[in-house]
Symmetry: C2
Subunit: 342 residues, 2 copies
């Protein structure tokens, strides 16, 4: 027997969200739709790349709280993570807030993981929870690949770590004083957490290939519970990029599910890939977080999209495990988000 | 207004737990009470320390599942973490299980964090969730300090990373077919998640001092909701060790709460500190996990303890943030566990 889809009995509303990005992201196709941008040098006024990343998380959560008029005591928990060793982007970035804190690590799937756990926490009682994630090109490059000064060449299948942080405030409280009647509110209506899936990929320059089987695994389990791709306005994956997206479409097609008409990928949407030499597209915890906040949720609120499957994808290796000859396990967490008039 | 204690309305039972440890832990005062021990070389049959740590998690969860007769399809989620970069101990160790996976990072507080989030998940519906954590002396030493071959001296305030993994299976399902009537079952009855607390400690050889203020912060918030230390058979902290424990007692004493008569610390209990040259005691994700499983929960089941406050403590820095001059933020997550006859 497979694990079932989790269906909240109460309304889980995404009250507000915010996005903070760097210069490259602001230049991309979604430029102008992000809330806060450092168009100068991606440092956000800080001395080190790690502190810049933390500052992005601080700004993202602050902005999301301002948008829905929430103070610290009105938020019951923060669930947050990033790609840095020991998740210091989140630990330091959110330390200013007197809000109960849960650190997460799901690689690039952390945006979906945090929204999922925040939803589950909201289901456990009347609560409001924040989900916050980030990545920074410069802190990630030197940790996972090479120091920036080295100027190494990049493989065509490699992805570009997004400099960005997204924050989401979810709630199962009444909130009727915050929401104006008649507007669309993005609500989390179904959850299907992923298994760890390892198909033996070991190429560090092809994360899309490592993550695609995990996304396919979760989507297949979802469809087999009686759903079809045509039910949705969009099935959006976190950051499979160009390589991983085409693998995902092929894997599902072989199982009889054609998602090509409704599939989109945050990693493909955030950059003008060919114009900007971004190879296979964007990746990182911040990639899906900022695309979901600035673009998808906005479209849901405006009634342009009404029913979206978001599958956050992550590659769960470390540089050390790859050096030890291990392959790359992936994961895909599925969150269904619908626009509801409340 | 402060954040309230979370009180499950349904019974959250800890159905079973398991502990896996290395040679040093088996030699300590709790030796003989752990489920699985590698008394030969702490490798658990693996080639690298990281793979040994993963293997401990695999064994711990398998053992806990066997104890309560659970198969993979009966467990709705695994919540797991460890100290390694990108949490690869958990990612690889649990990849064999076809169970939805959530990766966590809370440094040494991860055992409490995972039990807390598993409890909250159980509160959201009728569910069973596994909480799994680990640390390994050899993988932690080379990542956080020096390669073992270097043979560096250790400061008297430093702690010894426990080689151990603990797994807990929590449930809000009926389970009457598993539990024999009349026995004590450890139940999670209250939760108070911690804030990130930074009191400006920057000495990497004194984690106890960095974590004690966070434990004090959470316990103070708990006591101020109308509780007193004398209500409990034991208030047990995760791994403050000798230094941090005495700081915690002093901090609370200054606020009018004397916990000295009921305080214990997993880091002080796991080794014969003076005999075995373990300086300030044990630490690591595995420390509180194995002491709680092998000793505290066993005592609750046997009716020796009936009401315990467990405060898991973590130091949320990384070697890089310390090199950049940042101080060490701490966190303390509180879980109340009572023995109930069901």
């Amino acid at each position: 027997m497979a694990h079932k889809i989790i269906k909240p009995e109460m309304k889980i509303k995404i009250l507000s969200s915010a996005s903070v990005v760097g210069r490259e992201e602001d230049r991309g196709p979604l430029g102008g739709s992000f809330d806060i941008t450092d168009t100068k040098d991606d440092r956000f006024g800080m001395e080190t790349w790690e502190k810049s990343e933390s500052e992005m998380q601080r700004l993202a959560l602050g902005c999301a709280m301002n948008k829905c008029g929430m103070s610290e005591d009105k938020i019951d928990a923060m669930l947050a993570g990033d790609l840095l060793n020991q998740c210091v982007g989140s630990n330091y970035g959110l330390s200013e807030y007197r809000i109960p804190y849960f650190g997460l690590y799901g690689a690039c799937s952390t945006a979906a993981e945090s929204i999922m756990l925040a939803s589950i926490m909201c289901m456990s009682g009347h609560m409001r929870c924040a989900a916050v994630t980030s990545s920074h090109f410069c802190s990630a490059e030197r940790q996972f690949r090479y120091p920036l000064e080295y100027g190494g060449q990049r493989a065509p299948t490699s992805q570009w770590t997004v400099t960005g942080s997204g924050a989401f405030i979810l709630s199962s409280e009444d909130d009727s004083n915050i929401i104006s009647g008649g507007e669309y509110v993005p609500c989390v209506t179904e959850l299907l957490p992923g298994y760890v899936v390892d198909h033996g990929i070991s190429d560090i320059n092809n994360m899309g290939a490592a993550m695609a089987p995990a996304a396919a695994d979760t989507l297949l389990r979802y469809f087999k519970e009686g759903h079809s791709p045509s039910e949705f306005d969009m099935i959006i994956t976190g950051d499979l990029g160009r390589e991983g997206s085409s693998i995902l479409i092929d894997l599902l097609d072989a199982e009889g599910y054609d998602i090509s008409a409704v599939h989109a990928d945050c990693g493909k949407m955030i950059y003008n890939i060919d114009l900007e030499d971004k190879h296979a597209g964007g990746s990182g915890c911040g990639c899906s977080a900022v695309v979901m906040s600035a673009h998808i949720l906005r479209n849901i609120k405006e009634g342009i999209l009404s029913d979206v499957l978001f599958v956050g994808t992550g590659a769960l290796m470390s540089p050390l495990t790859l050096n030890q000859g291990s392959t790359i396990p992936g994961i895909g967490h599925l969150v269904r988000i619908r626009g509801d008039k409340i």
